[in-house]
Symmetry: C2
């Protein structure tokens, strides 16, 4: 693996901003998009449970249905891709068992060698429902962070969004029946040259207000 | 900005794993660590509120105190840096006001031009306390994802950890009095050549089980 020079990574993170106006004429090439999907797949989660689902919406008709449920924000229509980040609500022991069985297959070991690991994963997936749903949501936000950072690194613009009606998204996308709930969106594509937000200075508290050294 | 080739980003994400055994002799150079701190500072959050605090623990004495509260996991002692990700519990209207005032200063505009923005930020920071704390926790996990992805890109190993006792961490680090609660850890440094976990195949559900195309 050839690491990226730290200053190149920093430049990408500074270049990133919550893109408000996407260029509707520009589509993310399939090989580039494939890497962003892999960033989702490879995201880490506690105990490796991956208590999430990512719905990639490119169908313009579905986008049109989702648009009013996202307060008519133009990113939902204009971005090349729209990812709906969904969390398992709640994770179950069946999810834990599936993960442990899959681990045994991938690592080619007998399930009996994973007994300690199984206890840990089942424990994580046995929280009371509301707590479990909140935990899965936090894991899903790790994937959101990984997605946004990776997009920036490879020069793809994105806009994370919580401004939408989750219940309507769940209904339109049929998520509830599958045990998932929508949590956040990421529109991805390329900034429109006329997006005035691209040029505004970033607003962040000074480092010494958010980072404490001990 | 010169984007990273997508295949280089993908290689970094595949190279990444939850490092269990760090090389205690290797320290992240200051200029590299500075970029990882900037990744934290630049992480996006809903309404830009940054309802978080990152405590970077390098003092070996404090590490020793935290170690038993993290079930004696060696990463807490051996990694070059240990970041404690903390969320505001809960965010308050005062936090919102501070953010809006800061925005006005950074962008050199009168506060009266930010009235719509202020309403949105105050709304986000006015949730019932438990809900607000959960929301801040999710935002903080975005920063965790950005940190882990950036570390991987620049060739720094990391281990995200939820296996610790938050109340004990809060007490040892004096977080509660400042309105924060510890949520997750990231140990960062360089993998030990003898970490057997580095060589294990990654366990992820197949892409078509976690990604749905619509």
């Amino acid at each position: 693996m050839h690491p990226v020079p730290p200053e190149a990574a920093l430049a990408a993170l500074r270049w990133r901003y919550a893109t408000k106006k996407f260029d509707p004429a520009r589509t993310i090439p399939p090989d580039v998009w494939a890497v962003l999907e892999q960033a989702l797949v490879l995201s880490p989660s506690s105990t490796g449970l991956q208590p999430w689902r990512f719905v990639v919406v490119t169908d313009p008709e579905v986008r049109k249905k989702l648009h009013p449920a996202a307060y008519n924000q133009p990113q939902v229509l204009d971005a090349s891709h729209l990812v709906v980040f969904c969390g398992k609500s709640p994770p179950t022991v069946a999810d834990a068992d599936r993960h442990v069985a899959h681990t045994a297959r991938v690592r080619n070991v007998g399930p009996e060698t994973l007994e300690g690991f199984r206890k840990m994963v089942v424990g994580a997936a046995s929280r009371p429902p509301e707590e479990g749903t909140a935990w899965a949501a936090r894991q899903t936000y790790i994937a959101l962070g990984v997605f946004l950072a990776t997009a920036a690194m490879i020069g793809v613009d994105a806009c994370p969004m919580e401004g939408f009606e989750p219940e309507k998204f769940d209904e339109i996308l049929g998520l509830k029946a599958q045990g998932f709930g929508s949590l956040a969106l990421a529109a991805a594509g390329y900034r429109h040259p006329a997006d005035k937000y691209a040029g505004l200075p970033k607003v962040r508290f000074p480092a010494d207000e958010v980072i404490e050294h001990v």
